[in-house]
Subunit: 458 residues, 2 copies
């Protein structure tokens, strides 16, 4: 091991910032190549983001969609993984700055730091409307969803009625559509039999989209089909609806206030601040309004051939003139492309411009439902859903996780159950209006089928 | 469903506080009985505590050892589960007080609120030496263990050496022994191949026990065997060692200060404050120095036949004159026994005193090693370990979890790998002493086999 590391010292140093799809696939493509690679990430794991909503909706456990970068790359002897937070760069000296004050020198730098949510200047909304980008986000969203049902059950049991169970998802892109379908599925198919005082099917799931249709990057017929499938699941789809305020327990849509149990944020992406940090050091580099860095056709920084920017942090019209979308598939292809161009450099060959291979788009909408577009081929419903499941299981990195996830899906499919329904963290939500002493027990049900207090409360 | 609930109203009300082994088994034993049961817990899940250390050591995921109480009990139509925190009782009015101000009335009350760690008055130690009682505790301990290796790797990579990787476990009972064995196993067998700059086998695992031997509730020969097996795994066992201070990055043992990366607390149990709350309302009830409530032979509160206290919160010499130990098996038996006595009351029969059936004791010590005592039969080594695995898999509640856990164990056994190695939460630990600018790269290794900086740091 030590000898192997010694041998690396004379090799060109490639530093990769970020272990998402872009960074990970660049590192994989450089494994065994005559370079010494250092991959830096704030997390110890790669997260399979397309399945994060399944953790949020209690289908999968975090460990099933995230693997330690160190184990994914353990066979790559020329790749070192370090856990650390990159705070900036010294482009002139070719150094990456880490939060703890140390620095990493590079010959080539690949910045794949991704994006987070943007609250369009309303950062205060984050507390009441979390977004879904990390495993921690998913566990927090799962906590909120499951806790909402628990609090309603307690309230119905203790006071005879409960606040409306309203789930609001803001943003009708793939994440919003998938979350809305998943929550409707939980309420209708999974939790019902476990709750005795509430009828979980009465939960309202509302999806708000500012544009005239959901999935607006998809062909229009698929948007319509997705909307229809959501409605079949009981989701209220509200297009042309702008959320103008998010507060504790309610949101404002246009002029209307809506009481909410859980609000989720599935819109607004803003690239990592490392994009701006790079641009500040390199003349002529542009950053767009979403924080993305405009890159040259080979994904390098204009005027800085040794620096590449890929994934959600990059903005590029590819060789065919199409804007490369912010998808996992695009980031993977970019990671591989920059690795190939670095190796071309080392062999003294010409770099190739990046060409995005559009493999299509798919989004699931609960059980048995999905929409998919592959070239001019549009699909929806059961077959699209089967294809979605197959493709995503195949893409999951790691033979092990793939098997576990497929097993979990088969189980959930046939039993209508969920195996990851833990609430961890804070569970302290007050019951509304505990009643003052009542002397006796009156078994009655109200109009919504809720149990009147069968215990005396005071 | 609603009809079923109406039918319950005229039934005697049994309130169970706590969904651990005692409370859960009482609820299970009362399923289908002519009573209306309400089980209250602060968590939505039952935790299989004997396997918590396997979550802490990244073998199992939280979802594999914890199941929602609501789903475990979903077939029990006369059992309602509510998520809530009990703050006290009004024994005269037969009411349980919840944190949100509401109350639950009972005809019978079963208090099974368990125990937490005690820091012997040094509550400040908790921050630096977390204990292991909940899923959240286990995930936090896992985070600290894995992060310690990551920080050492980064430090070795960036500065050429790293602070000693010292794991200190305070308390040589079953939890301490299992944690020490598991950490030694991770360091020696699991992580080695994934880390390139450090030699994880150099990690020191120290187990401190104030008494002359580990596992002091076990027969002496098994204590000696456990100590020997720990030493084979490389654990330094320090008996007769009292920890007198716990600070950030170091502990004091007797007069010696020891530098530490991770400190875990596996000693000192103190019963839930609900024991004292009960005693304050009932004349003649005693609470011992560990906060446990002395109960009558039928596990009821002296002078309050309608209140039972079971599990770690209860102190009882059983009908054979033996002190009932604080074990999962004992709590289960107590839960079933009070359920049976309640049903005897309802049928007008005499109550029976509780009799503990001692099924024995077992603790694992890493892979292939364990000690077990069943009556006068003492075992250690591989066979004891196999028996441990079989018994614990069988005890796991839920057909599903049992299969998943066994699969996970088989996988981990044959591949020497771990599937639950996620670090979630904070990862921001500074690297020690980042060096000031060095001009070149010097590949050298120091005495402990650590890599000298192969990157320039400043």
């Amino acid at each position: 091991m030590r000898d192997a590391i010694k041998n690396l010292v004379s090799r060109p140093k490639v530093v990769i910032v970020g272990g998402g799809f872009g960074g990970l696939y660049a590192a994989k493509a450089l494994a065994s190549a005559p370079v010494a690679v250092t991959l830096v990430d704030r997390k110890n794991h790669h997260t399979f983001q397309p399945l994060l909503y399944q953790v949020a909706s209690a289908v999968l456990s975090p460990g099933q969609i995230a693997s330690p970068l160190r184990s994914i790359l353990h066979g790559a002897r020329n790749v070192e993984v370090i856990l650390g937070e990159v705070t900036g760069f010294n482009v002139g000296a070719r150094r990456v700055l880490l939060k703890d004050g140390s620095e990493l020198q590079y010959d080539y730098l690949i910045v794949a730091a991704g994006a987070r949510h943007s609250y369009f200047g309303h950062d205060g909304w984050q507390r009441n409307a979390p977004g879904l980008k990390t495993v921690e986000d998913a566990v927090e969203i799962r906590r909120r969803i499951l806790l909402a049902f628990e609090v309603a059950e307690r309230e119905a049991y203790l006071t005879g009625s409960h606040r409306p169970l309203n789930f609001a998802i803001i943003g009708g892109g793939p994440t919003g559509v998938e979350l809305a379908g998943a929550i409707a599925g939980i309420a209708r198919e999974v939790l019902g039999r476990d709750f005795k005082a509430i009828d979980t099917r009465q939960a309202r799931v509302m999806l708000f989209e500012g544009n005239p249709r959901v999935l607006r990057t998809y062909p229009e017929d698929l948007s319509r089909k997705a909307e229809k499938q959501l409605q079949e699941l009981g989701v209220e789809v509200r297009t042309n609806s702008r959320v103008t305020a998010v507060e504790d327990g309610r949101i404002k849509v246009g002029e209307e206030w809506i009481e909410t149990s859980v609000v989720l944020w599935a819109t607004g992406v803003f690239a990592s601040p490392l994009g701006k940090a790079l641009a500040a050091q390199a003349a002529g580099v542009e950053v767009d309004k979403s924080g993305r860095v405009s890159v040259s056709p080979d994904l390098s920084l204009p005027g800085r051939r040794e620096i590449f920017v890929i994934g959600d942090l990059a903005s590029l019209k590819d060789a065919d003139g199409k804007l490369v979308p912010g998808l996992a598939a695009a980031a993977m292809q970019e990671g591989r492309a920059v690795a190939a161009n670095i190796l071309r450099d080392l062999r003294g060959e010409e770099r190739l411009p990046f060409r995005y291979w559009d493999k299509g788009n798919m989004a699931t909408i609960g059980r048995n439902r999905a929409v998919a577009q592959v070239g001019s081929w549009h699909m929806s419903g059961y077959f699209a859903w089967l294809m979605w499941a197959l493709v995503h299981a195949l893409l999951l990195s790691g033979f092990r996780n793939r098997l576990m996830v497929m097993r979990e899906w088969v189980w959930a499919y046939f039993t209508h159950s969920r195996s990851a329904r833990l609430i961890t963290g804070d569970t302290d939500v007050p019951t509304r209006q505990p009643r003052q002493v009542e002397v006796d027990v009156r078994p009655e049900t109200d109009a919504r089928g809720m149990l009147e207090s069968r215990v005396v409360v005071s």
